[in-house]
Amino acid sequence: MSANGALLALRGVTKRFGPVQALGGIDFEVHRGEVVGLVGDNGAGKSTLVKTISGIYEPDEGEFFFEGEPVTIAGPNDATALGIATVYQDLALCDNLDVVANLFLGTELIAPGPAGLTRQLNETTMEHRSHELLDQLAVSIPSVRAEVGTMSGGQRQQVAVARSLLGEPKVVLLDEPTAALGVAQTAQVLELIKRLRERGLGVVVISHNLADVFEVTDRIFVLRLGRPAGDFDVRGTTQEQVVAAITGAQFGGQEGRDGAVRGDGQGDAPEGPR
């Protein structure tokens, strides 16, 4: 099966934990410059899907295509090498380090010349590139030399997203980027996600907040009990339809409606769990 131009495409991905089928028959794709919302109830398999894409879990069945080529993702390093970056909900920032140190954590630049022999850090260039990156993303933080622990949740989230971009990824997975944020901070983070789209990245956003999802995504992919329960184009879709897909409530006549549910053969909403 081809990947029809998608940046990242999953075909028939299944993941079991012992007798429990966490994911079944997942066809999922992300295109360049597209933000896909991944929604579903607790335990629907959203995190499992993201962890499968980012290489933490290995799928039991199914194929991956990256830029049209079949690939295997056997570990987080494989995903990183392909250009898939993940920002987890806990952000994994070091609160005691400043923004520059966090952005370059694990990929520090080493000073040129004899100082490099001691693995001396090239602070000037790192700070410069930090300014560049944060300016491009219009991230507003008090200072790149401020400790991350001193910052608001929205600023920390933006730093975490910015860090994921240093590796020049093509796909960015965001796990609940707006959870626990205030209104203004949520708006900042949503703006940042839109700028990722402008940069031509494929973005996958896990969220519980449908208002945020409708605000920022182009397409909404609904999971229910580990199976695909709908794939909606945001234009022409109502929150009620998405909620119905999430909860499994029947709603009639969607098959014939224009673009509400993409009926491509398998795993649509009305099927329900097998």
Binding site: Y88, D90, L91, A92, L93, C94, D95, N96, L97, A101, L105, G106, T107, E108, L109, I110, T118, R119, Q120, L121, T124, T125, E127, H128, R129, H131, E132, L133, D135, Q136, S143, V144, R145, E147, G149, T150, S152, L166, E168
Partner: protein, 406 residues
């Protein structure tokens, strides 16, 4: 995102006005300036003791004070690294004694050259640190337990190595010279100028580098003041030491290790990773840092620095005996950095706290000796100072939180 500094000059321009620092009073209160707080505390301690006994600030006594703190200070350098990880090493006292004993046995009983004997002693500490670090990471035993077991085991090893005599006197002039060599005044002045010159060159170099890269940089006035303060301090120390016996080799060794290890901690990739692991080990792991390697390396550093401190202590005592590395040495070596602002919880601190903390504790101990106080009083006072320092640290942390900082 090119590495070319010119490429984003406008980007940096937005932040060029951004001052580094600012809000001196607020930062002081929130504990960002722990070193300054300690310097103020040290000044108070010195003034109090000077009022009680006017020999306290004499050149002879200050030189003695410097010699008294070298062993503890060197051990504390390694302890700082362990504290930065948020771990603890309770074996450093025992390791210092054992390493000194190994050195003494090889030199005195087996006739090894002093250089080889010192290397053997240091490697003893290195190997012990490596083993303890490996046990800690491999089996996930808390470092507190691993090194507590080490404390007991290495004390036993010390008794075993010393054998029946229980004491080995050091007579080799190279070994005794470590703690008993003083440089002529001229040499001292030249060293002072070299240190000041190196510091000025480093500061100016970094400043020019940031300036040319269009990054926020220090105001020239502030930099000149800082240079002047350092220059005056260095010259004053050398002047005091010169008016007694001269600059001691032991003090040079201590300062060289403190400065070198501070460089490693604050300027190198390894140091950055130590701070990262101490701040959030899981984040460090996900960033691709090999957390286990960092931990083992840090315990190896602690063991090595303990050995070096033990060797200096033996040189000063002119002997190694059954109580070498025992008594309150361990607790003082840990208390020093904590008093001087290195957090017990990991991720915050500097190697300078090893020197400053040793100075604070050494000053209290030395001053109370001059006042001929009982050791019972000394212990209680030192304990109270440590408690006060930790309370100040806790208050500072709470104020950081109150100011909306995690």
């Amino acid at each position: 995102m090119s590495a070319d500094p010119q490429a984003a000059a406008p980007a940096a321009g937005r932040l060029a006005s951004e001052r580094r620092g600012g809000g001196l009073v607020r930062r002081f209160a929130q504990g960002d300036l722990a070193s300054l707080r300690v310097v103020v505390g040290l000044a108070v301690i010195w003034i109090v003791f000077q009022i009680q006994n006017d020999r306290f600030l004499s050149a002879v006594n200050l030189t003695n004070l410097m010699l008294q703190i070298t062993a503890t200070g060197l051990i504390s350098v390694g302890v700082v690294y362990v504290l930065l990880l948020g771990e603890i090493d309770l074996s450093v006292g025992a390791v210092s004694g054992l390493a000194a004993a190994v050195m003494a046995v090889f030199n005195v009983k087996h006739g090894w050259s002093p250089y080889l004997a010192v290397v053997a002693g240091v490697l003893t500490g290195t190997a012990i640190g490596l083993v303890q670090g490996a046990l800690f990471t491999r089996f996930g035993i808390p470092s507190f337990v691993v090194t507590l077991a080490g404390l007991l085991a290495w004390q036993g090893a010390l008794l075993y190595v010393l054998g029946e005599t229980g004491t080995i006197n050091l007579t080799n002039p190279k070994l005794t010279g470590l703690a008993n060599t003083f440089y002529a005044p001229d040499v001292g002045w030249i060293m002072a100028l070299v240190v000041i010159g190196a510091y000025a060159a480093g500061t100016l170099g970094a400043w020019r580098h940031r300036l040319s890269a269009g990054l926020a940089h220090q105001q020239v006035g502030g930099m000149v003041v800082r240079l002047a303060v350092v220059a005056v301090a260095v010259l004053a120390v050398v002047a005091i030491l010169n008016s007694d016996r001269g600059v001691p080799l032991a003090v040079l060794i201590l300062i060289a290790f403190v400065a070198g290890m501070q460089y490693v901690a604050s300027r190198t990739r390894f140091g950055r990773h130590v701070f990262a692991v101490g701040g959030n080990a899981e984040a460090a792991r996900r960033a691709g840092i090999r957390v286990e390697h960092i931990r083992v390396a840090v315990f190896t550093i602690a063991g090595s620095m303990a050995a070096i401190g033990g060797i200096l202590a033996a040189s000063r005592l002119l002997a190694v005996n059954q109580s070498s590395g025992g008594s309150d040495l361990l607790l003082l070596a840990i208390a020093g950095p904590v008093i001087a602002g290195t957090s017990l919880f990991g991720g915050r601190g500097s190697v300078w706290s090893a020197l400053l903390g040793a100075l604070v504790i050494g000053s209290i101990s030395n001053g109370m000796d001059l006042l001929a106080l009982e050791s019972s009083v000394k212990f209680m006072v030192t304990g109270a100072v440590l408690l006060a320092a930790v309370i100040i640290d806790a208050i500072a942390r709470r104020q950081r939180q109150a100011a909306g900082r995690v």
